[in-house]
Subunit: 289 residues, 2 copies
């Protein structure tokens, strides 16, 4: 129950009706007796810089979850950024540090990587293909680089998106082999759909699944349904997979650690979450909305 | 449960640990299935003007409850003010109107007057003494004037506070008889302690109770204990009384109407309130904190 001693985590984005985080964090805070709350706040892009500044003058704010359309802008509004956020060119968490400065990190990619690790796939030294190099694919690529992949394939219908991401990866990870321009999954140990393909039933598949090896691990960010057509096709070929909501539930423990609330597990979160019954689920491909 | 469709009412003040409103409003919203939440936000005075402006750029905000130290400043930051707020020189509620403008009103006094009316005391045509002409006494005096008292006695250890309030009352209620400078309760139909006297057990009584008529109705704003020494002394003389928390519970229906959430009764609020068990109760004389 909210009171004058409650610590606030703002959830910033627009529109708000697809927000998922409050439906997972708040039941967990309650189950743990933690006096904190995630408060959904709808902020349009034009108002975001002023709002963010004002928000962090509150005396009971600890941080913010940031979702669309503010993830890129946030990198320009804080005092310090993690390497993953620099490479992603986006941030989805802001922490008010004790000295009053704002520090931002990104956890979309963290959630993806934690998920595949939990499933026994260690990205270290592997070759990974990220299809979709925008707001979700860039953080995933950044976190895969942090996790030690040997090579990253980047593909986006917008070649410019891939080129920008490639430039940032090469700047921060000079040893990493980066390829762009092809969505051919052949030869990759890990293939990730980080594009919106799969949101609509009539979407084409993001890659040519006939070129997928059964040994390839396949990840998905779309969470409109548990098993998208892409995941179903990959499973038919014998691939191990990770569903879209895993990325959401896996990143929350990382967020909680970032904000200083301890940690938890995806299973514990799923046990208390109110998300599955809520229309917000799946209306956006953004796992942190 | 908070979600992306939840309407926010900000609760603005500093410090926050004495905030009472979330402990009453939120259980009531929940009991009624209303998708709204009062969010405590600690704002220091220097940050308040910028924060208030930024707050009302949110897409899911409807209004704000305003408490110390911002009630006076608020009157200078909104587009329009109720007459009661003008007379009080203070506002404790801000509504974002459909046209985007901000309208402020005050409900401290409203709550007091609703309470005495419910107890059968109609202020119309009566003589009322308000002891303490600061942040709580001024709104009570304004609402008593709105309710049609014939004469108002004002007393404050700071003669300047009484003089300022008197000036505003005379401007907006030219027919009203206003007296200042004496706390003698003799001859009044209604006597209100709107001073902090009673917060501490060793405080003197706010008026000389030996001069109280048994026919005088006596009201209190201090809510540190249900029956303050002043109320107990008045009851011993046979006076009807109103306790401090009545003012809180009586003003909430008025607030809910102002924000467009329908209405309720103090009894219904008390039935769901979590306030009585909470340390916030009574730590301040401000009934809207």
């Amino acid at each position: 129950m909210l009171s004058g001693s409650t610590t606030l985590i703002a959830h910033l984005g627009y529109p708000t009706h697809t927000f998922k985080a409050p439906l997972v964090y708040n039941p967990w805070f309650e189950s743990k007796g933690i006096d904190a709350v995630v408060v959904p706040m709808g902020v349009e892009a034009a108002n975001y810089p002023d709002f963010l500044r004002a928000l962090f003058t509150l005396t009971n704010i600890r941080g913010a979850l940031v979702t669309m359309p503010h993830k890129v802008t946030t990198t320009e509004l804080v005092d310090d950024l993690s390497r993953a956020a620099r490479v992603a060119g986006a941030a989805n968490a802001v922490l008010l540090r004790e000295d009053g400065s704002l520090y931002a990190d990104q956890f979309d990619g963290t959630g993806f990587v934690r998920g595949v690790l939990r499933k026994g796939f260690d990205p270290r030294g592997t070759r990974a293909l990220v299809v979709g190099n925008g707001g979700v694919g860039s953080p995933i690529a950044a976190s895969l680089a942090e996790a030690g992949v040997a090579a990253l394939g980047l593909y986006d219908p917008s070649a410019g998106a891939s080129a920008v991401l490639r430039g940032r990866l090469e700047e921060h990870f000079p040893e990493l082999e980066v390829r762009t321009g092809s969505a051919d999954p052949d030869g990759y140990d890990l293939v990730v759909n980080a594009s919106p393909l799969g949101m609509d039933d009539h979407d084409p598949l993001p890659v040519d699944v006939t070129r997928l090896s059964p040994a390839t691990f396949v990840g998905e960010v779309v969470m409109r349904q548990q098993f998208t057509p892409f995941l179903r096709a990959a499973m038919e070929r014998g691939c191990a997979v990770q569903v879209g909501t895993d990325m959401l539930y896996e990143q929350i423990p990382a967020y909680l650690e970032f904000f200083g609330f301890g940690t938890t597990t995806p299973d514990e979160l799923r046990a208390v979450s109110l998300l599955e019954d809520h229309p917000a689920l799946g209306e956006t491909e953004d796992p942190t909305s």
